[in-house]
Amino acid sequence: MTTTTTETRAAERSASRVAARVDRPQPPSALSASLTLGWRSVLKIRRIPEQLFDVTFQPVIFILMFVYLFGGAVSGSTQEYLQFVLPGILVQTVVMASLYTGISLNTDIGKGIFDRFRSLPIWRPAALVGALLADSIRYVVAAAVCLAVGMAMGFRPDGSVFDVVAAVLLVLVFAFSLSWIFAFLGLVMRSAGAVQGVSMLAMFPLTFASNVFVDPSTMPGWLRAWVDVNPVSHLVTAVRGLMAGGPDAGDIGWSLIGCAVLIAVFAPLTVRAYRRKS
Protein backbone atom coordinates (compact mmCIF):
# COMPACT_ATOMS: atom_id res chain seq x y z
CA MET A 1 0.00 0.00 0.00
CA THR A 2 2.97 2.28 0.51
CA THR A 3 3.56 2.49 -3.20
CA THR A 4 0.00 3.64 -3.82
CA THR A 5 0.41 6.38 -1.23
CA THR A 6 3.64 7.68 -2.72
CA GLU A 7 2.16 7.55 -6.19
CA THR A 8 -0.87 9.51 -5.07
CA ARG A 9 1.41 12.05 -3.45
CA ALA A 10 3.49 12.32 -6.55
CA ALA A 11 0.34 12.89 -8.55
CA GLU A 12 -0.80 15.59 -6.14
CA ARG A 13 2.58 17.27 -6.30
CA SER A 14 2.46 17.08 -10.06
CA ALA A 15 -0.96 18.71 -10.11
CA SER A 16 0.02 21.63 -7.93
CA ARG A 17 3.44 22.29 -9.44
CA VAL A 18 2.90 21.75 -13.11
CA ALA A 19 -0.21 23.85 -13.20
CA ALA A 20 1.64 26.77 -11.64
CA ARG A 21 2.17 29.09 -14.52
CA VAL A 22 5.71 30.07 -15.45
CA ASP A 23 5.65 33.03 -17.77
CA ARG A 24 7.93 33.13 -20.73
CA PRO A 25 10.77 35.61 -20.34
CA GLN A 26 12.36 37.46 -23.23
CA PRO A 27 13.98 34.98 -25.63
CA PRO A 28 17.75 34.70 -25.19
CA SER A 29 20.11 36.71 -27.37
CA ALA A 30 21.76 35.11 -30.38
CA LEU A 31 25.05 34.88 -28.47
CA SER A 32 23.47 33.43 -25.36
CA ALA A 33 21.54 30.82 -27.34
CA SER A 34 24.68 29.84 -29.29
CA LEU A 35 26.73 29.52 -26.12
CA THR A 36 24.02 27.46 -24.43
CA LEU A 37 23.92 25.10 -27.39
CA GLY A 38 27.72 25.01 -27.43
CA TRP A 39 27.58 24.03 -23.77
CA ARG A 40 25.36 21.12 -24.79
CA SER A 41 28.02 19.86 -27.19
CA VAL A 42 30.71 20.22 -24.55
CA LEU A 43 28.61 18.15 -22.14
CA LYS A 44 28.33 15.52 -24.85
CA ILE A 45 32.12 15.40 -25.28
CA ARG A 46 32.45 14.92 -21.53
CA ARG A 47 29.86 12.15 -21.60
CA ILE A 48 31.41 10.36 -24.60
CA PRO A 49 35.16 11.02 -24.47
CA GLU A 50 35.74 8.53 -27.30
CA GLN A 51 34.79 11.44 -29.53
CA LEU A 52 38.27 12.79 -28.87
CA PHE A 53 40.14 9.80 -30.35
CA ASP A 54 40.70 11.51 -33.67
CA VAL A 55 42.28 14.54 -32.02
CA THR A 56 44.42 12.62 -29.52
CA PHE A 57 45.68 9.28 -30.76
CA GLN A 58 45.54 10.02 -34.46
CA PRO A 59 48.03 12.93 -34.39
CA VAL A 60 50.40 10.91 -32.20
CA ILE A 61 50.42 8.10 -34.74
CA PHE A 62 50.78 10.50 -37.66
CA ILE A 63 53.71 12.32 -36.11
CA LEU A 64 55.54 9.14 -35.13
CA MET A 65 54.88 7.52 -38.47
CA PHE A 66 55.83 10.39 -40.73
CA VAL A 67 58.86 11.51 -38.76
CA TYR A 68 60.42 8.07 -38.43
CA LEU A 69 59.27 6.65 -41.79
CA PHE A 70 60.16 9.57 -44.04
CA GLY A 71 62.32 11.82 -41.90
CA GLY A 72 65.64 10.32 -42.93
CA ALA A 73 64.71 10.00 -46.58
CA VAL A 74 63.17 13.45 -46.99
CA SER A 75 65.35 15.66 -44.83
CA GLY A 76 68.40 13.56 -44.10
CA SER A 77 67.57 13.29 -40.39
CA THR A 78 64.43 12.72 -38.37
CA GLN A 79 65.16 15.78 -36.21
CA GLU A 80 65.33 18.09 -39.16
CA TYR A 81 62.16 16.64 -40.69
CA LEU A 82 60.31 16.95 -37.37
CA GLN A 83 61.16 20.64 -37.33
CA PHE A 84 59.70 20.94 -40.83
CA VAL A 85 56.69 18.64 -40.61
CA LEU A 86 55.26 19.35 -37.16
CA PRO A 87 53.51 22.63 -38.03
CA GLY A 88 52.14 20.82 -41.10
CA ILE A 89 50.80 17.88 -39.13
CA LEU A 90 49.29 20.30 -36.63
CA VAL A 91 47.41 21.97 -39.47
CA GLN A 92 46.44 18.65 -41.02
CA THR A 93 45.14 17.21 -37.74
CA VAL A 94 43.02 20.23 -36.92
CA VAL A 95 41.72 20.54 -40.47
CA MET A 96 40.83 16.83 -40.47
CA ALA A 97 39.10 17.25 -37.10
CA SER A 98 36.78 19.82 -38.64
CA LEU A 99 35.36 17.06 -40.80
CA TYR A 100 33.79 15.54 -37.72
CA THR A 101 31.48 18.56 -37.46
CA GLY A 102 29.53 17.43 -40.50
CA ILE A 103 29.29 13.84 -39.38
CA SER A 104 28.07 14.68 -35.90
CA LEU A 105 25.63 17.27 -37.23
CA ASN A 106 24.22 14.72 -39.64
CA THR A 107 23.58 12.17 -36.88
CA ASP A 108 22.39 14.79 -34.42
CA ILE A 109 19.94 16.52 -36.70
CA GLY A 110 17.95 13.38 -37.44
CA LYS A 111 16.97 13.19 -33.79
CA GLY A 112 13.90 14.80 -32.36
CA ILE A 113 15.88 17.32 -30.35
CA PHE A 114 16.54 19.51 -33.37
CA ASP A 115 12.79 19.76 -33.91
CA ARG A 116 12.55 21.12 -30.44
CA PHE A 117 15.35 23.62 -31.02
CA ARG A 118 13.69 24.79 -34.18
CA SER A 119 10.35 25.23 -32.45
CA LEU A 120 11.93 27.65 -29.94
CA PRO A 121 12.00 31.41 -30.37
CA ILE A 122 15.80 31.48 -30.62
CA TRP A 123 18.15 32.78 -33.29
CA ARG A 124 17.89 30.05 -35.89
CA PRO A 125 21.57 29.39 -36.64
CA ALA A 126 22.33 29.15 -32.90
CA ALA A 127 22.30 25.35 -32.96
CA LEU A 128 24.88 25.37 -35.78
CA VAL A 129 27.08 28.09 -34.34
CA GLY A 130 26.94 26.38 -30.94
CA ALA A 131 28.06 23.07 -32.41
CA LEU A 132 30.89 24.71 -34.36
CA LEU A 133 32.06 26.66 -31.32
CA ALA A 134 32.15 23.50 -29.21
CA ASP A 135 34.21 21.84 -31.93
CA SER A 136 36.85 24.50 -31.36
CA ILE A 137 37.56 22.73 -28.09
CA ARG A 138 38.41 19.62 -30.06
CA TYR A 139 40.74 21.70 -32.22
CA VAL A 140 42.50 23.06 -29.14
CA VAL A 141 42.98 19.52 -27.88
CA ALA A 142 44.35 18.45 -31.26
CA ALA A 143 46.79 21.38 -31.37
CA ALA A 144 47.94 20.77 -27.79
CA VAL A 145 48.55 17.08 -28.45
CA CYS A 146 50.55 17.82 -31.60
CA LEU A 147 52.71 20.39 -29.87
CA ALA A 148 53.24 18.24 -26.78
CA VAL A 149 54.25 15.16 -28.77
CA GLY A 150 56.43 17.24 -31.08
CA MET A 151 58.21 18.96 -28.21
CA ALA A 152 58.73 15.62 -26.45
CA MET A 153 60.38 14.33 -29.64
CA GLY A 154 62.60 17.38 -29.88
CA PHE A 155 60.65 19.97 -31.84
CA ARG A 156 61.74 23.45 -30.79
CA PRO A 157 59.89 26.51 -32.09
CA ASP A 158 62.18 29.49 -32.58
CA GLY A 159 59.29 31.89 -32.24
CA SER A 160 58.10 33.29 -28.92
CA VAL A 161 55.23 31.82 -26.92
CA PHE A 162 53.15 34.60 -28.41
CA ASP A 163 54.05 33.48 -31.94
CA VAL A 164 53.14 29.88 -31.18
CA VAL A 165 49.81 30.90 -29.64
CA ALA A 166 49.12 33.10 -32.66
CA ALA A 167 49.91 30.15 -34.96
CA VAL A 168 47.50 27.91 -33.09
CA LEU A 169 44.81 30.60 -33.13
CA LEU A 170 45.22 30.99 -36.86
CA VAL A 171 44.73 27.25 -37.30
CA LEU A 172 41.62 27.34 -35.10
CA VAL A 173 40.08 30.17 -37.08
CA PHE A 174 40.79 28.31 -40.30
CA ALA A 175 39.26 25.07 -38.98
CA PHE A 176 36.19 26.95 -37.75
CA SER A 177 35.79 28.49 -41.21
CA LEU A 178 36.34 25.19 -42.98
CA SER A 179 33.87 23.39 -40.71
CA TRP A 180 31.04 25.35 -42.36
CA ILE A 181 31.67 23.29 -45.51
CA PHE A 182 31.33 20.08 -43.56
CA ALA A 183 28.33 21.40 -41.65
CA PHE A 184 26.74 22.12 -45.02
CA LEU A 185 27.51 18.62 -46.26
CA GLY A 186 26.20 17.25 -42.96
CA LEU A 187 22.89 18.96 -43.60
CA VAL A 188 22.39 18.09 -47.24
CA MET A 189 23.68 14.52 -47.32
CA ARG A 190 21.47 11.62 -46.38
CA SER A 191 23.68 9.63 -44.05
CA ALA A 192 26.69 10.14 -41.84
CA GLY A 193 28.57 7.59 -43.95
CA ALA A 194 27.97 9.63 -47.10
CA VAL A 195 29.15 12.78 -45.34
CA GLN A 196 32.33 11.03 -44.31
CA GLY A 197 32.91 9.67 -47.82
CA VAL A 198 32.50 12.98 -49.59
CA SER A 199 34.39 14.94 -46.94
CA MET A 200 37.35 12.60 -47.11
CA LEU A 201 37.40 13.02 -50.86
CA ALA A 202 37.76 16.76 -50.36
CA MET A 203 40.16 16.34 -47.48
CA PHE A 204 42.88 14.39 -49.31
CA PRO A 205 43.68 16.95 -52.01
CA LEU A 206 43.43 19.70 -49.39
CA THR A 207 45.85 18.21 -46.88
CA PHE A 208 48.12 15.84 -48.84
CA ALA A 209 48.42 17.85 -52.05
CA SER A 210 49.97 20.69 -50.11
CA ASN A 211 53.27 21.59 -48.51
CA VAL A 212 52.37 19.78 -45.27
CA PHE A 213 54.74 16.86 -45.76
CA VAL A 214 57.27 17.87 -48.38
CA ASP A 215 58.68 20.90 -50.15
CA PRO A 216 56.66 21.18 -53.37
CA SER A 217 59.70 22.16 -55.50
CA THR A 218 60.18 18.59 -56.77
CA MET A 219 56.49 18.19 -57.75
CA PRO A 220 55.32 18.29 -61.39
CA GLY A 221 54.09 21.68 -62.58
CA TRP A 222 50.36 20.94 -62.57
CA LEU A 223 50.49 19.70 -58.99
CA ARG A 224 52.61 22.64 -57.91
CA ALA A 225 50.02 24.94 -59.43
CA TRP A 226 47.37 23.43 -57.15
CA VAL A 227 49.64 23.40 -54.11
CA ASP A 228 50.34 27.09 -54.64
CA VAL A 229 46.65 28.04 -54.54
CA ASN A 230 45.63 25.49 -51.93
CA PRO A 231 44.62 27.54 -48.88
CA VAL A 232 46.04 24.85 -46.62
CA SER A 233 49.50 25.49 -48.11
CA HIS A 234 49.26 29.18 -47.26
CA LEU A 235 48.11 28.30 -43.78
CA VAL A 236 51.00 25.87 -43.29
CA THR A 237 53.52 28.42 -44.52
CA ALA A 238 52.04 31.01 -42.19
CA VAL A 239 52.14 28.62 -39.22
CA ARG A 240 55.72 27.55 -40.04
CA GLY A 241 56.72 31.18 -40.24
CA LEU A 242 55.15 32.04 -36.91
CA MET A 243 56.68 29.05 -35.16
CA ALA A 244 60.08 29.79 -36.63
CA GLY A 245 59.79 33.34 -35.33
CA GLY A 246 59.61 34.88 -38.81
CA PRO A 247 55.92 35.41 -39.55
CA ASP A 248 55.05 36.03 -43.18
CA ALA A 249 52.33 38.68 -43.34
CA GLY A 250 51.42 37.63 -46.89
CA ASP A 251 50.62 34.03 -46.03
CA ILE A 252 48.80 35.02 -42.82
CA GLY A 253 46.78 37.47 -44.89
CA TRP A 254 45.97 34.87 -47.56
CA SER A 255 44.90 32.39 -44.87
CA LEU A 256 42.57 34.93 -43.28
CA ILE A 257 41.14 35.89 -46.67
CA GLY A 258 40.55 32.17 -47.29
CA CYS A 259 38.70 31.97 -43.96
CA ALA A 260 36.56 34.98 -44.81
CA VAL A 261 35.66 33.54 -48.21
CA LEU A 262 34.78 30.15 -46.73
CA ILE A 263 32.48 31.72 -44.16
CA ALA A 264 30.96 34.17 -46.62
CA VAL A 265 30.06 31.36 -49.00
CA PHE A 266 29.26 28.43 -46.77
CA ALA A 267 27.71 30.01 -43.67
CA PRO A 268 24.70 31.38 -45.61
CA LEU A 269 24.39 28.13 -47.59
CA THR A 270 24.50 26.10 -44.39
CA VAL A 271 21.98 28.28 -42.59
CA ARG A 272 19.68 28.06 -45.58
CA ALA A 273 19.99 24.29 -45.70
CA TYR A 274 19.28 24.17 -41.97
CA ARG A 275 16.14 26.25 -42.35
CA ARG A 276 14.86 24.05 -45.12
CA LYS A 277 15.70 20.82 -43.38
CA SER A 278 12.49 19.02 -42.58
Binding site: A10, A11, R13, S14, A15, R17, V18, A19, A20, R21, V22, D23, R24, P25, Q26, P27, P28, S32, A33, T36, L37, W39, R40, L43, K44, R47, I48, K111, G112, I113, D115, R116, F117, R118, S119, L120, P121, I122, S278
Partner: protein, 327 residues
Protein backbone atom coordinates in the same frame (compact mmCIF):
# COMPACT_ATOMS: atom_id res chain seq x y z
CA UNK B 1 -2.81 34.76 -23.66
CA UNK B 2 -4.95 34.13 -20.61
CA UNK B 3 -6.94 37.19 -21.62
CA UNK B 4 -8.36 35.27 -24.57
CA UNK B 5 -11.85 34.07 -23.92
CA UNK B 6 -12.78 30.50 -24.67
CA UNK B 7 -14.52 31.44 -27.90
CA UNK B 8 -11.21 32.41 -29.45
CA UNK B 9 -9.57 29.92 -31.73
CA UNK B 10 -6.10 28.91 -30.57
CA UNK B 11 -5.38 27.02 -33.79
CA UNK B 12 -6.98 27.51 -37.17
CA UNK B 13 -5.93 25.65 -40.29
CA UNK B 14 -7.46 26.02 -43.70
CA UNK B 15 -6.73 23.58 -46.49
CA UNK B 16 -3.22 22.66 -45.32
CA UNK B 17 -1.30 20.71 -47.95
CA UNK B 18 2.12 19.10 -47.82
CA UNK B 19 3.47 16.89 -50.55
CA UNK B 20 6.59 14.75 -50.46
CA UNK B 21 7.29 13.80 -54.04
CA UNK B 22 4.26 11.90 -55.28
CA UNK B 23 2.84 11.45 -51.82
CA UNK B 24 0.29 14.02 -50.66
CA UNK B 25 1.03 13.48 -46.98
CA UNK B 26 -1.40 16.19 -45.96
CA UNK B 27 -4.11 16.93 -48.46
CA UNK B 28 -6.29 19.82 -47.40
CA UNK B 29 -6.59 19.68 -43.62
CA UNK B 30 -8.95 22.09 -41.85
CA UNK B 31 -8.79 22.44 -38.09
CA UNK B 32 -10.31 24.80 -35.57
CA UNK B 33 -9.20 24.44 -31.97
CA UNK B 34 -10.75 26.59 -29.30
CA UNK B 35 -8.45 28.13 -26.69
CA UNK B 36 -8.27 26.22 -23.42
CA UNK B 37 -9.45 22.92 -24.84
CA UNK B 38 -7.83 19.61 -25.77
CA UNK B 39 -8.08 18.66 -29.39
CA UNK B 40 -7.37 15.13 -30.50
CA UNK B 41 -6.12 14.28 -33.97
CA UNK B 42 -6.84 10.62 -34.42
CA UNK B 43 -5.51 8.46 -37.20
CA UNK B 44 -3.35 5.47 -38.11
CA UNK B 45 0.33 5.55 -39.01
CA UNK B 46 0.97 7.48 -42.17
CA UNK B 47 -2.32 9.40 -42.01
CA UNK B 48 -0.54 12.76 -41.95
CA UNK B 49 -0.78 13.55 -38.24
CA UNK B 50 2.90 14.27 -37.67
CA UNK B 51 3.21 16.30 -40.87
CA UNK B 52 0.26 18.41 -39.79
CA UNK B 53 1.80 19.03 -36.37
CA UNK B 54 5.13 19.93 -37.98
CA UNK B 55 3.46 22.54 -40.13
CA UNK B 56 1.52 24.00 -37.20
CA UNK B 57 4.70 24.22 -35.13
CA UNK B 58 6.58 26.06 -37.92
CA UNK B 59 8.94 23.14 -38.60
CA UNK B 60 7.60 22.50 -42.08
CA UNK B 61 6.41 25.04 -44.59
CA UNK B 62 2.99 24.14 -46.00
CA UNK B 63 2.77 23.68 -49.78
CA UNK B 64 -0.76 24.99 -49.71
CA UNK B 65 -3.36 26.45 -47.38
CA UNK B 66 -2.69 28.48 -44.28
CA UNK B 67 -2.64 28.09 -40.53
CA UNK B 68 -2.71 30.46 -37.61
CA UNK B 69 -1.72 29.75 -34.04
CA UNK B 70 -3.14 32.30 -31.59
CA UNK B 71 -3.94 34.49 -34.55
CA UNK B 72 -0.38 34.45 -35.91
CA UNK B 73 0.44 32.96 -39.27
CA UNK B 74 2.73 29.93 -39.02
CA UNK B 75 4.70 31.02 -42.09
CA UNK B 76 4.77 34.81 -41.98
CA UNK B 77 4.91 35.13 -38.19
CA UNK B 78 6.81 31.91 -37.44
CA UNK B 79 9.03 33.62 -34.87
CA UNK B 80 6.00 34.98 -33.05
CA UNK B 81 4.28 31.59 -33.09
CA UNK B 82 7.35 29.97 -31.54
CA UNK B 83 7.04 32.25 -28.53
CA UNK B 84 3.75 30.71 -27.53
CA UNK B 85 4.01 27.04 -28.34
CA UNK B 86 5.52 23.93 -26.81
CA UNK B 87 6.23 20.77 -28.76
CA UNK B 88 6.80 17.18 -27.78
CA UNK B 89 7.60 15.30 -30.93
CA UNK B 90 6.85 11.72 -31.67
CA UNK B 91 10.46 10.76 -31.16
CA UNK B 92 12.12 11.67 -27.89
CA UNK B 93 13.01 15.30 -28.32
CA UNK B 94 15.52 15.42 -25.52
CA UNK B 95 19.23 14.74 -25.71
CA UNK B 96 19.90 11.11 -24.88
CA UNK B 97 23.49 11.70 -23.83
CA UNK B 98 22.56 14.40 -21.35
CA UNK B 99 21.10 13.79 -17.89
CA UNK B 100 17.57 14.71 -16.90
CA UNK B 101 18.76 17.85 -15.13
CA UNK B 102 21.02 18.91 -17.98
CA UNK B 103 18.23 18.55 -20.51
CA UNK B 104 15.85 20.67 -18.49
CA UNK B 105 18.47 23.31 -17.71
CA UNK B 106 19.37 23.46 -21.39
CA UNK B 107 15.75 23.90 -22.32
CA UNK B 108 15.19 26.54 -19.64
CA UNK B 109 18.21 28.51 -20.78
CA UNK B 110 17.00 28.37 -24.36
CA UNK B 111 13.66 29.91 -23.51
CA UNK B 112 15.48 32.70 -21.71
CA UNK B 113 15.44 31.81 -18.01
CA UNK B 114 18.52 32.83 -16.06
CA UNK B 115 21.03 30.24 -14.88
CA UNK B 116 19.65 30.22 -11.33
CA UNK B 117 16.04 30.16 -12.48
CA UNK B 118 16.85 27.31 -14.87
CA UNK B 119 18.34 25.17 -12.11
CA UNK B 120 15.37 25.83 -9.87
CA UNK B 121 12.84 25.08 -12.58
CA UNK B 122 14.66 21.88 -13.60
CA UNK B 123 14.62 20.59 -10.02
CA UNK B 124 10.98 21.54 -9.64
CA UNK B 125 9.92 19.77 -12.83
CA UNK B 126 11.95 16.66 -12.03
CA UNK B 127 10.20 16.44 -8.68
CA UNK B 128 6.75 17.04 -10.15
CA UNK B 129 7.30 14.41 -12.78
CA UNK B 130 8.64 11.91 -10.29
CA UNK B 131 12.08 11.87 -11.88
CA UNK B 132 14.25 13.18 -9.06
CA UNK B 133 15.99 9.81 -8.64
CA UNK B 134 16.98 9.84 -12.30
CA UNK B 135 18.05 13.49 -12.34
CA UNK B 136 21.73 12.77 -12.84
CA UNK B 137 21.39 9.78 -15.13
CA UNK B 138 21.72 10.13 -18.92
CA UNK B 139 18.32 9.97 -20.58
CA UNK B 140 19.34 6.96 -22.67
CA UNK B 141 19.10 4.86 -19.52
CA UNK B 142 15.52 6.02 -18.85
CA UNK B 143 12.52 3.72 -19.31
CA UNK B 144 9.96 4.55 -22.00
CA UNK B 145 7.60 6.18 -19.51
CA UNK B 146 10.38 8.25 -17.93
CA UNK B 147 11.48 9.45 -21.35
CA UNK B 148 7.99 10.60 -22.18
CA UNK B 149 7.78 12.46 -18.89
CA UNK B 150 11.12 14.22 -19.29
CA UNK B 151 10.07 15.07 -22.81
CA UNK B 152 6.85 16.63 -21.57
CA UNK B 153 8.72 18.42 -18.80
CA UNK B 154 11.06 19.93 -21.39
CA UNK B 155 8.06 21.31 -23.29
CA UNK B 156 6.72 23.13 -20.27
CA UNK B 157 9.77 24.73 -18.67
CA UNK B 158 7.76 27.86 -19.33
CA UNK B 159 4.03 27.40 -19.64
CA UNK B 160 3.16 27.22 -23.31
CA UNK B 161 -0.11 28.75 -24.45
CA UNK B 162 -0.50 26.01 -26.99
CA UNK B 163 1.12 22.62 -26.49
CA UNK B 164 1.51 20.15 -29.34
CA UNK B 165 1.93 16.52 -28.36
CA UNK B 166 2.66 14.07 -31.14
CA UNK B 167 1.60 10.62 -30.00
CA UNK B 168 2.50 11.27 -26.37
CA UNK B 169 1.76 7.75 -25.16
CA UNK B 170 2.61 5.49 -28.09
CA UNK B 171 4.48 2.48 -26.78
CA UNK B 172 3.82 3.19 -23.12
CA UNK B 173 2.52 0.71 -20.58
CA UNK B 174 -0.91 1.49 -19.09
CA UNK B 175 0.49 2.93 -15.87
CA UNK B 176 2.86 5.33 -17.64
CA UNK B 177 0.06 6.26 -19.99
CA UNK B 178 -2.12 7.17 -17.04
CA UNK B 179 0.66 9.37 -15.64
CA UNK B 180 1.04 11.21 -18.93
CA UNK B 181 -2.72 11.72 -19.12
CA UNK B 182 -2.71 13.22 -15.62
CA UNK B 183 0.02 15.64 -16.58
CA UNK B 184 -1.88 16.73 -19.68
CA UNK B 185 -5.03 17.29 -17.62
CA UNK B 186 -3.05 19.42 -15.16
CA UNK B 187 -1.75 21.56 -17.98
CA UNK B 188 -5.18 22.10 -19.43
CA UNK B 189 -6.49 23.01 -15.99
CA UNK B 190 -3.76 25.65 -15.96
CA UNK B 191 -5.13 27.19 -19.15
CA UNK B 192 -2.95 25.60 -21.84
CA UNK B 193 -4.54 24.60 -25.13
CA UNK B 194 -3.42 21.12 -26.16
CA UNK B 195 -3.40 19.52 -29.58
CA UNK B 196 -2.47 15.88 -29.37
CA UNK B 197 -2.22 13.22 -32.01
CA UNK B 198 -2.95 9.64 -31.20
CA UNK B 199 -3.64 6.25 -32.69
CA UNK B 200 -5.80 5.29 -29.73
CA UNK B 201 -9.49 6.02 -29.70
CA UNK B 202 -9.69 5.69 -25.93
CA UNK B 203 -6.92 8.25 -25.49
CA UNK B 204 -8.78 10.77 -27.60
CA UNK B 205 -11.92 9.80 -25.73
CA UNK B 206 -10.28 10.31 -22.33
CA UNK B 207 -8.61 13.62 -23.03
CA UNK B 208 -10.00 15.44 -25.99
CA UNK B 209 -12.92 17.84 -26.05
CA UNK B 210 -13.09 17.52 -29.80
CA UNK B 211 -11.57 15.00 -32.16
CA UNK B 212 -10.63 15.12 -35.81
CA UNK B 213 -10.26 11.75 -37.50
CA UNK B 214 -7.61 12.00 -40.18
CA UNK B 215 -6.93 9.53 -42.93
CA UNK B 216 -4.69 9.81 -45.99
CA UNK B 217 -4.07 13.45 -45.31
CA UNK B 218 -7.65 14.62 -44.93
CA UNK B 219 -10.03 15.08 -42.04
CA UNK B 220 -12.77 12.53 -42.56
CA UNK B 221 -14.77 13.25 -39.41
CA UNK B 222 -14.76 15.92 -36.77
CA UNK B 223 -16.71 16.39 -33.58
CA UNK B 224 -16.89 15.55 -29.92
CA UNK B 225 -16.15 12.05 -28.81
CA UNK B 226 -19.91 11.55 -28.39
CA UNK B 227 -20.54 12.69 -31.97
CA UNK B 228 -18.03 10.22 -33.31
CA UNK B 229 -19.34 7.36 -31.27
CA UNK B 230 -22.85 8.13 -32.39
CA UNK B 231 -21.69 7.94 -35.98
CA UNK B 232 -20.11 4.53 -35.52
CA UNK B 233 -22.63 3.28 -33.00
CA UNK B 234 -21.88 3.06 -29.35
CA UNK B 235 -20.62 -0.47 -29.73
CA UNK B 236 -20.47 -2.97 -32.48
CA UNK B 237 -21.82 -6.41 -33.02
CA UNK B 238 -19.64 -9.26 -34.29
CA UNK B 239 -21.54 -12.26 -35.49
CA UNK B 240 -19.96 -15.42 -36.87
CA UNK B 241 -22.29 -17.90 -38.50
CA UNK B 242 -22.05 -21.66 -38.13
CA UNK B 243 -23.69 -22.11 -41.51
CA UNK B 244 -22.60 -19.77 -44.31
CA UNK B 245 -25.71 -20.49 -46.39
CA UNK B 246 -27.74 -18.56 -43.80
CA UNK B 247 -25.77 -15.36 -44.40
CA UNK B 248 -28.45 -13.48 -46.33
CA UNK B 249 -31.11 -14.32 -43.81
CA UNK B 250 -28.86 -13.33 -40.92
CA UNK B 251 -27.95 -10.03 -42.54
CA UNK B 252 -31.59 -9.21 -43.08
CA UNK B 253 -32.42 -9.94 -39.45
CA UNK B 254 -29.53 -7.82 -38.23
CA UNK B 255 -30.60 -4.96 -40.48
CA UNK B 256 -34.21 -5.11 -39.31
CA UNK B 257 -33.56 -5.54 -35.61
CA UNK B 258 -30.70 -3.07 -35.20
CA UNK B 259 -32.00 -0.69 -37.85
CA UNK B 260 -28.59 -0.34 -39.54
CA UNK B 261 -26.76 -1.71 -42.52
CA UNK B 262 -24.53 -4.58 -41.46
CA UNK B 263 -21.15 -5.07 -43.06
CA UNK B 264 -20.21 -8.50 -44.15
CA UNK B 265 -16.73 -9.93 -44.50
CA UNK B 266 -17.40 -13.31 -46.09
CA UNK B 267 -13.73 -14.38 -46.01
CA UNK B 268 -13.80 -14.17 -42.24
CA UNK B 269 -17.38 -15.39 -42.04
CA UNK B 270 -18.19 -12.42 -39.88
CA UNK B 271 -21.05 -9.92 -39.93
CA UNK B 272 -20.44 -6.65 -38.12
CA UNK B 273 -22.87 -3.85 -37.38
CA UNK B 274 -22.93 -0.75 -35.20
CA UNK B 275 -25.10 -1.08 -32.12
CA UNK B 276 -26.79 2.01 -30.73
CA UNK B 277 -28.59 0.19 -27.95
CA UNK B 278 -27.09 -3.05 -26.59
CA UNK B 279 -30.55 -4.19 -25.50
CA UNK B 280 -31.41 -4.68 -29.15
CA UNK B 281 -28.76 -7.37 -29.37
CA UNK B 282 -30.83 -9.49 -27.02
CA UNK B 283 -33.81 -9.04 -29.35
CA UNK B 284 -31.63 -10.01 -32.27
CA UNK B 285 -30.50 -13.22 -30.61
CA UNK B 286 -34.10 -14.19 -29.95
CA UNK B 287 -35.03 -13.57 -33.59
CA UNK B 288 -32.00 -15.46 -34.88
CA UNK B 289 -33.02 -18.44 -32.76
CA UNK B 290 -36.65 -18.14 -33.88
CA UNK B 291 -35.58 -18.16 -37.54
CA UNK B 292 -33.26 -21.07 -36.94
CA UNK B 293 -29.98 -19.22 -37.72
CA UNK B 294 -27.09 -21.10 -36.13
CA UNK B 295 -24.44 -19.00 -34.44
CA UNK B 296 -20.80 -19.92 -34.07
CA UNK B 297 -19.80 -16.82 -32.10
CA UNK B 298 -21.48 -13.56 -31.12
CA UNK B 299 -20.12 -10.54 -29.26
CA UNK B 300 -20.66 -6.87 -28.64
CA UNK B 301 -17.54 -4.72 -28.53
CA UNK B 302 -16.88 -1.10 -27.78
CA UNK B 303 -15.85 0.69 -30.96
CA UNK B 304 -12.15 0.58 -31.65
CA UNK B 305 -10.21 2.89 -33.92
CA UNK B 306 -10.62 0.18 -36.51
CA UNK B 307 -14.38 0.40 -36.31
CA UNK B 308 -14.26 4.14 -36.63
CA UNK B 309 -12.18 3.70 -39.73
CA UNK B 310 -14.26 0.95 -41.19
CA UNK B 311 -17.35 3.02 -40.71
CA UNK B 312 -15.90 6.29 -41.91
CA UNK B 313 -13.68 5.11 -44.73
CA UNK B 314 -14.70 1.59 -45.53
CA UNK B 315 -11.15 0.37 -44.99
CA UNK B 316 -9.35 -0.79 -41.91
CA UNK B 317 -6.75 1.35 -40.19
CA UNK B 318 -3.98 -1.23 -40.53
CA UNK B 319 -4.58 -1.65 -44.23
CA UNK B 320 -3.69 1.94 -44.83
CA UNK B 321 0.02 1.53 -45.45
CA UNK B 322 -0.27 -1.46 -47.73
CA UNK B 323 -3.05 0.07 -49.76
CA UNK B 324 -1.09 3.21 -50.23
CA UNK B 325 1.98 1.34 -51.38
CA UNK B 326 -0.15 -0.57 -53.87
CA UNK B 327 -1.62 2.68 -55.15
Amino acid sequence: MSTLDTQTMAIEAHGLVKTFGENRAVDGVDLAVRAGTVYGVLGPNGAGKTTTVRMLTTLLRPDGGSARVLGRDVVDDADEVRKFIGLTGQYASVDEDLTGTENLVLQSRLVGLSRAQSKRRAAELLESFDLTDAASRPVKHFSGGMRRRIDLAASIVVTPDVLFLDEPTTGLDPRSRGQVWDIIRDLVAGGTTVLLTTQYLDEADQLADRIAVIDRGTVIAEGTSADLKASVGRSSLHLRLADETQRDLAERLVAQTLDTTPRSTPEAGVITAPVADPDLVADLMIRLRAEGVRIDEIGVQRPSLDEVFLTLTGHAAEDDDTERTAA
